[in-house]
């Protein structure tokens, strides 16, 4: 992992006795990891910024990188959190999804509808409601996921939106 330190570019007085220096540091990070660190609707990066006090930005060119802005301590905390969250978050998401997403037990589904996969869910629901894929996708495929969410989560999310819109299409 390479990093570039632009520290001490913006001194800011906190008090007469204490000086705090805001710096910027660049960490190379492949863009394939950006999705998990951004999170759905930016939830991960917002939480990382709140927990560290640093500001985090993503660069995609010329190489994938993270830019962390803040005091020395804020940048160090941010980077520790980032490396840890990057390693653990995918597994935690999977654990929650495993707990949550049992196709035959979703509270919004009638007993007669018990699909065993997200593809079957789309097929089942097609008879009741039009479950269109996301605007950026032409069909319900794995490529419809663009924010690090699983395909299953994407389908459930759209199903619940459609369910609310149609006021329970199964009645």
């Amino acid at each position: 992992m390479f990093s570039t330190d632009y520290a001490n570019i913006c001194p800011r007085s906190l008090s007469s006795e204490q000086k705090e220096v805001i710096g910027v540091k660049r960490y190379e990070m492949d863009v394939k990891y950006h999705g998990i660190l951004l999170g759905k609707k930016g939830v991960t990066v917002k939480a990382l910024e709140k927990a560290s006090g640093a500001t985090i930005r993503f660069e995609t060119s010329p190489q994938g990188a993270l830019i962390i802005m803040g005091t020395d301590n804020q940048r160090q905390v941010a980077w520790k959190l980032i490396t840890s969250v990057q390693a653990t978050l995918p597994k935690i998401l999977s654990q929650i999804r495993d707990q949550n997403i049992r196709f035959s037990h979703h509270p919004l589904l009638p007993n007669s509808c018990s699909p065993s996969s997200p593809f079957q869910l789309v097929e089942h629901l097609g008879a009741c409601i039009c479950l269109s894929p996301p605007k950026h996708a032409t069909a319900w495929t794995d490529s419809a996921c663009e924010h690090g969410e699983s395909f299953t989560e994407l389908v459930w999310c759209h199903f619940e939106q459609a369910w609310r819109t149609h006021d329970n299409p199964f009645i």
């Binding site: 939480a47 520790k80 935690i92 998401l93």
Partner: protein
């Protein structure tokens, strides 16, 4: 917004990511504190 705890089922799909991120940061802080680091 109140983020529910990681334990148990997360009924609201909109809260899956917030719950997971919250849990990941808690674990990161715990791990760091065990190594003697401070987040102050």
């Amino acid at each position: 917004m109140t983020i529910p705890s990681f334990e148990g089922r997360v009924v609201n799909q909109d809260q899956v990511w917030p719950v997971a991120v919250n849990e990941a940061i808690i674990r990161a802080k715990q791990e760091s504190e065990e190594q003697g680091d401070s987040f102050k």
